[in-house]
């Protein structure tokens, strides 16, 4: 069968995620079908959302469907070709003249070191990136690595981890998203902590206190909390979508909502304030002899 599924504008917000989970909901049971994603209504696509979009399309194509993007407007083709996203859908990658993209890429869970190299080479070491204070730069990198590690350690994904980013120089903002096609936070909390939460409440649980779903010899439970603390200080924003849960933290306030359909995994999406001039230096002295 041939399905034509329309997609509205995709922005880095709740409505953008809602549109993507609706697309997935309409096509998730397709098998050996032709799926055309009709993008005629889109004049803008926030590039970091390619991570979540790419994850969904990958999952659909894994079901042996032929997935095509149709009626894509010229400027959207341009956005999605500069970051390499359209390369999976028959278009050539075009040069990123302004150097504002962190390319779309899919990783396997064993690729943590390769991911670190991708962030270093494709982004941190480029001359076009915003001048961030050394403290912010270190915190930003470590925050991104924490997101990826979180997906590696908790998602149990067999279909990979997807990432993409975009820098907006005029707004002093850098958006970066990591999506996985794993079991999601709600199921993880249920299976490992024995707590049966609503999807959005499971995200709240995972981001608070000493809570962790980690079991076994290696402790855990810090990654998301560290990231949230950094975002608070940076005055940025973090959104997490997992199952049908939507969670957002901005200006030290948390907002949650229920999406109409589940996302088939988890997305963590951050917006960094690149004009942040904080040194991130500690205000007190810590000693190496007073750790253990």
């Amino acid at each position: 069968m041939n399905f034509s599924l329309p997609l509205p504008e995709i922005r880095h917000d709740k409505a953008g995620f809602e549109a993507l989970v609706c697309l997935h909901g309409q096509a998730k049971d397709c098998f050996f079908d032709d799926i055309d994603v009709d993008m005629s209504a889109i004049s803008w696509f926030d590039a970091d959302m390619c991570a979540a979009f790419g994850a969904i399309l990958y999952r659909l194509s894994k079901n042996l469907n032929t997935v095509k993007l149709t009626n894509v407007e010229k400027n959207v083709v341009s956005i999605l070709s500069k970051n390499g996203f359209m390369s999976s859908y028959g278009r050539e990658k075009i040069p990123d003249r302004w150097g504002t993209t962190i390319p779309y890429q899919r990783f396997d869970v064993k690729d943590d070191r390769y991911f670190a190299g991708y962030i270093e080479n494709k982004f941190m070491q480029r001359s076009e990136i915003p001048v961030m204070s050394p403290g912010l730069q270190k915190k930003f990198r470590e925050g991104i690595f924490e997101i990826f590690s979180n997906a590696v350690l908790h998602s149990q994904t067999e279909m990979g981890i997807f990432s993409c980013g975009q820098f907006f120089p005029k707004r002093d903002r850098l958006d970066f998203s990591v999506a996985d096609l794993g079991i999601g936070i709600r199921r993880n909390v249920k299976e490992n902590a024995g707590l049966d939460f609503a999807p959005e409440d499971a995200i709240i649980w995972a981001t608070e206190g000493c809570n962790t779903t980690k079991r076994g010899q290696i402790p855990g439970g810090l990654g998301l909390k560290l990231l949230c603390q950094f975002i608070d200080l940076n005055e940025g924003c973090i959104q997490i979508v997992s199952d049908a849960g939507y969670w957002k933290r901005e200006k030290r306030k948390t907002f949650t909502a229920r999406l109409s359909q589940p996302f088939p995994g988890t997305v963590v999406s951050v917006e960094i304030n690149t004009a942040d001039k904080q040194s991130y230096a500690l205000t007190y002295e810590l000693s190496e002899t007073d750790i253990f």
């Binding site: 070191r113 670190a116 590696v152 079991r215 076994g216 402790p219 560290l226």
Partner: protein, 123 residues
């Protein structure tokens, strides 16, 4: 006299980016072997430019499931760490202490260790 072990994290990981749990495991394996023989270990973080909690949990946090706090304090030292990395390591250590105080998790960790040992002995 027993020899102390000086371990360069950079040398073990082969990179200034200490982000992967699997790389932390490599550090843990060496520290664990030394502490088991009651040798002291000095871990150098010289030239490390990025650290994650995932790496430190694997490299150091899991030691608290095997050794007592007193043993670790007596035998393990760190050096060449940046101030914010010390802060991160302190949080990892605090979290690990809490984690292994939970008997259910600790029992499971112990079971897994024993299963691993059994697997090794069958090789």
């Amino acid at each position: 006299m027993s020899k102390n072990l000086e371990l360069s994290i950079f040398e073990v990981v082969g990179s200034p980016l200490c982000v992967a749990s699997s790389d932390g495991q490599k550090v843990y394996d060496r520290v664990m072997a030394a502490l088991s023989k009651k040798r002291s270990v000095a871990l150098s973080f010289g030239n490390i430019t990025a650290l994650t909690s995932a790496f430190l949990n694997a490299a150091i946090g899991q030691l608290y499931g095997v050794f007592s706090e007193d043993q670790i304090r007596a035998l393990l030292t760190v050096e060449d760490m940046q101030q914010d990395d010390i802060a991160l390591l302190k949080r990892v250590v605090e979290t690990a202490r809490q984690y292994f105080k939970d008997p259910q998790k600790f029992d499971q960790a112990l079971r897994e260790t024993m299963e691993d040992d059994n697997d090794d002995s069958q090789d």
